[in-house]
Amino acid sequence: MKKLLLACLTLFVVTAVNAQNQTGYQVGDLASDFNLKNVDGKNVSLANYKNAKGYIVIFTCNTCPVSKAYESRKEELNKMYAAKGYPVVAINTNDPVASPGDTYEKMQERAKEKNFSFAYLLDPDHVFTKKYGAMRTPHVFVLQKTAKGNEVVYIGAIDNDQQLANPQRDNYVQNAVNQLLKGEKPSVASTKAIGCTIKWKKEVSK
């Protein structure tokens, strides 16, 4: 009994420590705007989207197999929701030295090849990747424009069907945005998924 109690306690402490280590935004926080270079050479801020009611911000990259599996679904999301006020804004999380497939030129190639209709932005030194708290690619943050600012209303995966093999697919982001368009808050506000780690810039010292 004592042992069990101890085990429970240990588990609790470990969980508490994990929770503390979590940085970045939680659902309900206000997200900061950015001004980042797009693949077309122009800078993009959330404020540029004059008619937006919110945003589907996707932290992603060129190289992760999971991100690649979602490429056409990102495009679909933008086609479905940009006109309704929720454009997709993709941000590359990866350092081009740590991940040579993620250079600005490679991003331009990919955007051209796949005909991205959404912005695909550079995030030098991971400033906004860290600020938002993206932990893997792809990692979605749905924002809703409010009087107070851009409120984070959903954090997680695009759906629960990475390999397009789940007949009971839950389209998390679609469901969230559909609810927002009806004036509701997303009933599922955060989800988990397997993703690639972010390829962080190597420290210069050492």
Binding site: Q162, A165, D170, I194, T197
Partner: protein
């Protein structure tokens, strides 16, 4: 006669499967642990495309070889896409001559899968689950390990 052929076929399939990587659901993993003769199971979640996972694999392999005579088992659960089993996972296992048990996770719904492995898991790889069936201890780590760190958490048990 028919029965013979079936038996021979089954044996052949069994042999073939030994050289291959199989799919495994979480339920099957639980059965594997419950019915296994070992008492310590180190279950590592990884993928061939995950850099830090590939870096720490040799430490798990070293655990396998150094504990060969103990009731100790390392199970490598790959989160590569099922469609990549033949093209990515099996060649990887062959190239690196992996001695630990290797499976590809066979689950439809990652959301449920991740929570079932551990509530605290964000879904980032690598992650490691250590089970001790004797002491009924279960600990989960969402991080990459060095060999010394692995020994440290194992000796705590």
């Amino acid at each position: 006669m028919k029965r013979y052929i079936v038996t021979i076929l089954l044996i052949l399939v069994g042999y073939g499967a030994n050289a291959q990587v199989k799919l495994l659901t979480l339920n099957e993993l639980e059965q594997r642990v419950a019915k296994g003769k070992d008492t310590t199971y180190v279950v590592n979640f990884w993928a061939t495309w995950c850099g830090p996972c590939v870096e720490e694999l040799p430490y798990f392999e070293r655990l396998t070889s150094e504990n060969a005579k103990k009731p100790f088992k390392v199970i490598l659960m790959s989160l590569d896409f099922k469609s990549k089993l033949k093209t990515d996972v099996e060649p990887f296992v062959a190239k690196h001559k992996l001695k630990s048990e290797v499976f590809v996770v066979n689950e439809m719904d990652q959301q449920k899968f991740i929570d079932r492995v551990d509530k605290s898991w964000s879904g980032a790889l690598p992650a490691t689950l250590i089970l001790n069936t004797d002491k009924k201890v279960r600990s989960f780590y969402e991080k990459a390990f060095t060999y010394d760190e692995l020994l440290k958490v194992l000796n705590k048990k």
